[in-house]
Symmetry: D2
Subunit: 103 residues, 4 copies
């Protein structure tokens, strides 16, 4: 199962504040009980089935349009590894083990 | 209809050359007759229906796995404007008009 | 010498049209005679010395602020290969040779 | 002061595991006492002066080359807001206030 990163950016909003749009996107995500997600200062990280992630990304992409915005720029990064399980926590743990170790 | 940008990057290939993977991705795209696309030095730009673009991106994302790669990083940027038509050519023309004009 | 891709996106502009900002960024780039660049429908591709590219990207990032915008999102992708020369044209040619050939 | 996101991806490594490279990049970052940073499952988020961030990104970009890799793809996103202070923590707090509130 891939780990993905998504940002949904409304353009031409008239205000530089984006947090209301991000909060609405988080509300959409919270309805997908089969996906794990995590908000970072720059993006939202999602773990789960790729088809379901594409579904939720399409729904998140609609959020600013529903609030009256006319242009939206959405970026999705898919990190997909198939020789061993990939998880949000496992990716960070793996780096921290290296940092704690000698390598 | 949105204009999108996609890159499919195979990881751990053993060789820094990626063009064979990119060529295979272009072959996948060429089978989608309802989508227009354009190769740039850094990405592929696609114009068309968003559901169809997500379909082809999923298929392009599988290309390196079919060639034996174990990890793939795919990035998709969706530029979606709904107050007026957006096209690959129109976006570039619009900038070039500004450059040719006085503004 | 790396090949890079840059997008400078003004946020909160009040209008979804971005071409005036993109045109101004192109004018900045045109003053860097030692860099080659190419406008695509989704980004600007630049070829040249990395330090010079970082310099021009910093200057392009200032363009919307100078036009009164309060928030700017700039994305830079650096593709840097050191076992053989990398050029904008060479990258596209390499894919097209694969497409024309049998591989 | 901008909040930035960086990923440094080594290509052609022969193994799909990247955590050793990411750990080395974190070690580079840790030497920049004037920058705050945070590892996410998909990227590293950095807060601080833009010139210093560009300096550390250049140094992080060199990490895989020093380990013998021949091609590196580095992505930097700069989120720069100048009408009010922007911080990693403040960005997340602002979304969480919206989620806790009534809007």
């Amino acid at each position: 199962m891939p780990v993905c990163q998504v940002t949904v950016v409304p353009l031409g909003t008239g205000t530089p504040s984006l947090s209301a749009y991000v909060a609405d996107c988080q509300r959409v995500l919270a309805r997908y009980a089969d996906l794990s997600f995590q908000l970072t200062p720059m993006a939202t990280v999602i773990e789960g089935d790729l088809n379901r992630i594409l579904e939720v990304v399409k729904e998140m992409h609609e959020v600013p349009f529903r609030r009256g915005v006319h242009r939206v720029s959405t970026t999705l990064v898919i990190d997909d590894r198939r020789d061993k399980p990939l998880t949000m926590q496992g990716k960070v743990d793996s780096v921290e083990e290296k940092l704690a170790g000698k390598e």
